[in-house]
Symmetry: C2
Subunit: 409 residues, 2 copies
């Protein structure tokens, strides 16, 4: 079960004025589950997108990027689960475009004003007929208070839906931010969410919306890893409907921009951490904090070496303070002039290693105590400079193997 | 159980004239098992070493490197299992030196003529008293026909011992090569063997012996990965006793050098592949062959992205041809200008993907057939140039998690 992720209740999610959502059962992979989501944006809404760095990126990613690049007003987003439409060649591109064309026909706009998204099995043909057949029901279901169902409709191997709302005051106006995300395997930075949609009713100029999304993603979805595999389909979209009664935010040094950016980042970080808490087979939520690095890049190398090591992740699963494995990962992270005698390693508040070896004060019972907790902080102090970074990950359990050995069956 | 690794029989291993081995039970981690090995070299033997690139490298690695650097004749190697003497700071260095000093006292040489090696749990103090107490029994056991017991004495989580002998004719002389290795977890290139010892009675000049070891290691131990974790203790040693009745090999373009190098590489590759076949929890032996790359480095990136992906490794465990996961790994391997439409992916002899998607000729039953075999070839043709590389790995099973969650208990 997900690690410390409270059950989502419909009333926790606030509608965002100018953004409606509709869900349908399109039978894409299995019958009897909601697997198609349409998000429709009112006139004047703006959209920023961040996408996977995978070179084998999925057809819908290529189409969504191309449509965003045309800088026409985006009218709708269409999301299906059960099939990733990735590794599907020319036919995959055609089907992503067909999805847009059909949604455009139903909504009375141009196909280039629709962004397609897919998640699920890779290298299977997208069942376009089922999507076309399912779209009218999704459009008929469109309403503002549909985020709870939308969070469910984008799930694949997720055990629980992930969503969060937040309300802030901005220059007298009440501004809402609501976000949903999915993902629990094939999760690693460079747009790691698989899919995330965050909407606000704030009025934000397009370049500032894009900057705000980059800022939020760098501190949330790009800081998580479950298994080190970067998906072909990752995408995170930030929508600003502009329905709030306020001046448009056009100055990135204004109080309003900074406050909204902080709130969007908070929602994004909650969603990103929720993905790790619901990581495939996860029983522990682990924060890896590396500080005192010469550069942020080298802190990242150390943090991901720890967060990706199957040996460390299985030791966390077993609550075994086999902490030498962490020293080994620090050692192979790729800092060639690393002076290991300067490093301090903490597990929670317990000093584990210093001077190149186990700390004299360290007691195995103390390490054991921290390892048994469901939330664990691994803190590495490199003592080489002032840079730092934080990465969130989970442990590696029998269930990870089970889920991924049986995913398609 | 190990994948296609025939049971080792004592008579398969040939003694190497000028190299004696002695084993003892020193009770380092558990009582009742052989855990201490001494290898003694006759006058005139030469030794070349290759060591881990891990910055947190173990105390014995540092001491062995320092002793080799002095260029005095090496008289003995001492190997213990059950404790890695890594992440042990100054005390660890002292204890590695004490090990050498005690062996030197028993053998009548200088401590700097002894090379120490340790493998086992990291960040636990080396029980030096047990090693000192065990050394006399190991020295009393010294004999040339002791390779079979030596292969057992260096095991940790290995299920089976790994060893191979080969005999070749070199300029009329009969030359023997015998090697042993251990390792099954924390295995990844940059000296991935954990421990390997290969000896020959050939006469080889020191610089040529070192070149020969680099050549062999680059084509064997540096091409394998089990879990992507580079150990703190990896070391591979090549010993040439010089006892064969032959001219010393001093020319790297000579027939003798090339023939001996090929034989040493064959032994090293067998041992490296044996480590993967006995990889922790392994049920499949997987060869990842990447060809048509612009550089060998980019072929390596693709090969290791595939070989390290937990999603791919669990799919192999399940015999599930979920091959989109391989496309995803190729896509995130880090080739930024990759044209995915030019790639061809084969599973064994079956063409799986081309033109950016599933091959028209591909039948799932064909993929399934290959996936069920215990030995699988994954072949990626990048169509960007003439470089290629091969990496060997294994699948990821419940037992990998079990072994590593319970390793210390």
């Amino acid at each position: 079960m997900p690690v410390n992720l409270p059950t989502l209740k419909p009333e926790q999610l606030l509608p965002v004025s100018g953004v409606t959502l509709g869900i349908a059962e399109a039978n894409i992979k299995k019958p009897g589950r909601k697997d198609l989501l349409v998000i429709v944006l009112a006139e004047g809404a703006r959209v920023a997108g961040s996408f996977t760095q995978n070179r084998f990126c999925a057809a819908p990613v290529l189409v969504a990027q191309a449509h965003l690049a045309q800088q026409r007003a985006i009218k709708a987003l269409v999301v299906n689960t059960g099939n990733a439409n990735a590794g599907t060649g020319e036919v995959g591109l055609e089907r992503a475009q067909q999805t847009c064309a059909e949604a455009a026909r139903l909504l009375g706009c141009d196909a280039s004003q629709v962004l397609p998204f897919s998640t699920g099995v890779i290298m299977e043909p997208l069942p376009i007929d089922k999507i076309v057949a399912g779209l009218p029901a999704a459009v008929a279901d469109l309403r503002e208070d549909n985020w709870f169902n939308a969070a469910h409709a984008i799930m694949t191997t997720d055990i629980v839906p992930k969503a969060m709302s937040k309300r802030i005051e901005l220059g007298g106006a009440s501004v809402t931010i609501t976000g949903i995300a999915k993902g629990s395997g094939m999760i690693r930075p460079n747009m790691a969410t698989m899919l995330g949609y965050i909407a606000t009713n704030a009025k934000v100029a397009q370049p500032l919306l894009e900057a705000m999304l980059r800022y939020a993603v760098d501190r949330s979805f790009n800081r998580i890893t479950v298994d080190g595999d970067t998906s072909t389909n990752d995408a995170c979209m930030l929508i600003a409907s502009g329905h709030a009664v306020m001046e448009e935010i056009t100055d990135s040094s204004s109080h309003e921009f900074i406050a909204l950016q902080a709130a969007v980042t908070e929602v994004a970080a909650f969603l990103a951490q929720a993905i790790v808490r619901d990581g495939e087979g996860a029983t522990k939520f682990i924060t890896v904090q590396v500080e005192g690095g010469a550069t942020e890049d080298e802190c990242s190398k150390v943090a991901y070496a720890i967060a990706h090591s199957p040996l460390i992740k299985t030791a966390f699963f077993a609550s075994d303070p086999n902490l030498g494995r962490i020293l080994a990962a620090i050692g192979y992270a790729g800092i060639m002039d690393l002076d290991v005698s300067r490093i301090r390693l903490y597990l929670g508040d317990v000093l584990v290693a210093e001077n190149g070896g186990r700390a004299a004060s360290y007691q195995e019972t103390e390490g054991q105590r921290v390892m048994k907790e469901p939330e664990i902080l691994v803190r590495v102090v490199l003592n080489r400079g002032g840079a730092e970074t934080t990465v969130w990950t989970c442990d590696f359990s029998y269930d990870y193997v089970k889920i991924n050995a049986e995913y398609r069956s």
